[in-house]
Symmetry: D2
Subunit: 381 residues, 4 copies
């Protein structure tokens, strides 16, 4: 019911504004005995943090995370979770003392300025306040804990994200290479298109404009059985999770919106027995989820991120007093916020899966291991 | 946390299987004093019920609803809600006593057969059991109550759905006419394309095949301020709600997946002051939601429904004993389940909005009335 | 968040009014594969149902329960739970068509009449409507399912209740005999005092008066580890559960209110190693719960039930129009509602424990078996 | 569902261990526009903090609170809540680097040592870790916010606690004086008995022993209508809240456990019309709650706090290896933890009421003002 919490048995609660002293997250319900070091969380945060390339905001934040509770050395001296809430704390460092006068009184189109005032009658306008994408640092930190839980309980679980479309330019899935993702500033799995995106996004950036994107997140190693019928469906919770990420306007599972154009024959993911004697799906239109429950195939989700609303070009708007005016947003902004949404999407996927895993274990007991499925069906779906 | 409940302050809990004696829903948290007659709920149910045309399943169910609790005559003699749980009850009538032998042991591709067994080790295979679309009757009944709540508290709220795509065939938005929706068996707002769909779907139906579709749901009359930051976002809850509907694989808000191809300039919904002195948005790429909070514009959502998985063409699969086999599904099935998903989508939208309205009132107090926005932006977005 | 639901992973939602057509409960989150027959539920209901002796209300209700969903025959032909919601349905049979004119407009002291109107502005005054103790039939039905879950997962779990005080008359714990409980109309474990209570309560009944009571519920066979720190404490949830029962005004765990008079030395439940090599507590002031977590000892709870508010003696009150008046309540009432609260207390204990067991299994994994503790410490504490 | 959260619309999530770097609470769902300064929270914290007299632990903690998020200056320059989560942060200062060897391996009777290990397999033994009463500082901080919400929305609300019993020594209610509470180190409303308690507790303290106590909390100015039928009952949530406080073993509402000895005639709180034309209850056995809903009378709750389990006298126990041993607890402990539970009980009452108020407003709309009731019925009940 809390508007700043997500999950049920594995539950995160985030807090903090863009220009407040700090932000953080409380992770509750984590199983005990899971090895957890701040450095592991930091590795995920470093993938999201600003300033990594000229294609993301130049705000300088080290995003250094501290673990303030919920861990203790076990008898072997390893720091592990204790089952009590894990408080993760990140100090804001670069709250530039600029003049917010323009934003303070004007509603930037595409931003939450107008709606926060409509709802609350007051807003922290500095850097977007609570609606800033800085909140996603807390999610990534919590997601790192969720990944540890999944690995601890299920063994080899891989959750990877990639940018698969920027503006009208899509990756060629025939060239999909997960190793390429860390080799370019876009988390792009297609090295050829990544090179082209550099020029494309440079032009947008220099024009003070921005562009949308599509992110794909694939989870492998998830056993069949996670999720639940009706309102606890795994795909419903993934959709909810991704749609909470700033600027996301669409979510797809498996074949997604394109399912509308498929016939029943095309859509059916046929099943055989694989060489190892286990079920083998011949395709993955379902994105690894049937009836809201994981099938053992890779879980495949995509989401569209709208272009950054902070642009240099003046846009018509009104101010708080009800006068017509124009606004253009200067400052340090991402020309394509979709890029930094990649690790955020991975984190939300991990959080949903960790929560569903614990809930499944609660109702049903231990989960089997994942059924094998065709190689990289996620990438090819 | 309950897997068969949805919502928080306005909360529904559904129960029942396709071939059990009955199904139903408990609606909790409804405000008191809302006029409510079974006939009003029945009207919505009749739009969803099977057997209405040759394009939907021929199962014969009257879907007659009974109100078993939560209403009482007020001093004026009108039946109104009392604030206590409203139990809505629908008896199953046409559980055809056919031989389920084939389905009983085989996992139908695209259905939840495999995953229910993977999760629970047991399933009610008769008609899909709990995973049957019959469960959506309960949602439509609950949605009818939600509509009454919205009208009672906000006045003129309109929530309408339409089928906007069947297979590759889309409506022409220039011909959009809400009045046409009730004039064809597809809930199609474009009378020209609706006529063409008849032949198209007849061919699919006669071939024992099926086809996907896209549904659009538009809510008008919703004031600015509903929703909440971060994990209680209105769009996140709408996405979750629609993704819980059987066979849905993608959800979009406003410009949706196409946001990826927009620039910041194109995406910005500029704001002026309208003739009535209130904010007027010049476009609605946001689908009526900014930062997770309603803006007063029409709320616009679309979702893709995959083709019915029950088809006559044999598909390769395995059986419960792990043998490779084939399955083809005879019986009375919808050639395009997207059609009957239209009233279900409306119901889920109403439930999300009623819940968010009560939660907003709880935290902030009464909600203002809707800001005007451009005419039928929803339909045109 | 739902006001008519209780529990988290194992969650019940009740509905229905005293004089409506029926009442019921939806049990969600039940593990699959638990054998469940209506007759087992009926056995518990029969212990609570009215009309069993002259010391309880003479309303004639068979309280016949139907299972409408959530069960299916397993491969061995036994009816078992499927993991989907279990809808339990009880028809009201004896809604006597008496004149409610007196109660309709007057607020009976001690009843919820005044507060329901203060809250909702409307109430179903027939038999107390939603605030009637008839709602507890639904709890007892759900509690029967919870018992089955506990036995299925933990083996030999015993949850027993007894009336330990009626008015000023307490049982002698030296005479405690669980077998005596079913041998008198009071669920009294002390056969000597039970005999005395017959005359005592006859006098009260004939005078049209009523009297309070104390119920004790003891759960044995619960392993150490159930519960959670801070706000998920097992004792907190037991207290909440018992305090939701009609007319309950106080709840105690272990030594309860008398803890205030103990020194640290007296209160400490010392620990030794028993003959079987397992921890053995030498007393049970804790009532089986330390730091909110079960210790493996019997879990001991007591709660006070106020006297029935429906009495023949006129009491001063006001009516809905604000006039001073008097009211006396005729009709078929329990002279000591504490009696029928015994099976209700057992049911709530079972529901709390089943929910905590599933939540424990979700976060931590399987629970060990109960640590032995001194014989019948619960009864003697 | 989170075990470290409490409340629904007004929801707190606490984190931190006794000897970790800090502890804190996230308050979510607070209405916007509520004036809130750290100094106001600090005033409540100062009433709970250790070291205030020789009768409480001598641990030196300033318990200085920082507000890290959720507030912003309004147009008048006042710091007010914004509706986003309020993160309150308290640094631990006096984590004495003593040798924990004894406690580390031995289970202290009455403490959560045994059960934490039974549940989680690991525990932070330093100062009790998560089970330490230091966690209650976070509750008191959150409670201060809840008080501000109540005052903001309801006007004059007073929530006061008092110690009414220490060991066998009770206050004389004829001498009840709320002003006396701040005039002695016990929060005692009876100045005569307070003087006697000094000698009594000195003797216990010097003997290295400890003693139990009873706390009473009274809320005045609460309108009729808060709470909900069945599982959202106000008294159920108060009982749950108080039972989550460390060492609490019993909770009473109004006449409490003594209800068992009342007849229906005695128990009925008769109603008249007061001089101001509003309902006037002639007694308050109900403790201000009927059918789970507030009646407008003072809400009266009492809870028993067991004696501090940390005592100097050796007690028999076992160690983690399963050996029989003895343990005595040195260090800085409260001889009567009930004393410092007084402000904690007030805080929990405020949190329950704030949450119920927002939930009521959500379902029903604005709440009226409190019905008057007899003078200080709470104190005299």
């Amino acid at each position: 019911m809390s508007h700043n919490s997500f999950g049920h048995l594995f539950r995160i609660t985030t807090w903090g504004e863009s220009h407040g002293p700090a932000l953080g997250v409380v992770v509750d319900g984590c199983p005990p005995g899971v090895p957890l070091e701040a450095a592991e969380i930091q590795a995920d945060l470093d993938r999201r943090k600003p300033g990594g390339s000229r294609f993301v905001t130049q705000r300088r934040e080290s995003d250094t995370v501290e673990i303030l509770s919920g861990v203790f050395p076990d008898r072997a001296g390893r720091q592990v979770t204790t089952g009590t809430p894990i408080s993760l704390f990140i100090r804001n460092e670069d709250q530039r003392s600029k003049d917010y006068g323009d934003i303070k009184e004007k509603f930037r189109p595409g931003h939450a300025d107008f709606t926060y005032i409509a709802k609350y009658g007051i807003r922290d306008y500095r850097g977007g306040g609570r609606s800033s994408a800085r909140e996603t640092a807390a999610r990534v930190a919590a997601g790192a804990v969720a990944r540890k839980v999944l690995s601890h309980l299920l063994g080899n679980v891989t959750i990877r994200g990639a940018l698969v479309q920027m503006g009208p330019h899509r990756v060629d899935r025939a060239r999909w290479d997960w190793r390429a993702v860390s080799g370019n500033p876009f988390f792009c799995p297609d090295p050829v298109v990544a090179a082209a995106w550099e020029d494309y996004l440079d032009a947008i950036r220099k024009a003070g404009s921005s562009i949308g994107a599509v992110v794909e997140v694939v989870a492998e190693g998830i056993p069949a059985g996670l999720g639940a019928p009706i309102y606890g469906k795994l795909d419903s919770e993934i959709a909810a999770a991704m749609m909470t990420i700033n600027a996301v306007k669409g979510v797809e599972i498996g074949a997604g919106m394109a399912s509308a154009e498929l016939t029943g024959e095309e859509n059916a993911d046929e099943i055989r027995i694989g060489n190892d004697g286990r079920p083998l799906f011949l395709s993955n239109n379902a994105g690894g989820i049937l009836g809201g429950i994981s099938s053992g195939q890779p879980i495949v989700c995509r989401f569209a991120v709208k272009p950054t609303s902070s642009i240099l070009t003046p846009r018509r708007t009104i101010d708080a007093a009800g006068n017509e005016t124009e606004v253009s947003t200067k400052g340090r902004h991402d020309p394509c916020v979709g890029i930094r949404a990649v690790p955020v999407g991975e984190a939300m996927m991990a959080i949903v899966l960790a929560d569903q895993l614990l809930r499944h274990r609660g109702q049903v007991g231990n989960c089997g291991s994942a059924a094998p499925a065709e190689t990289e069906s996620g990438a090819k779906s």
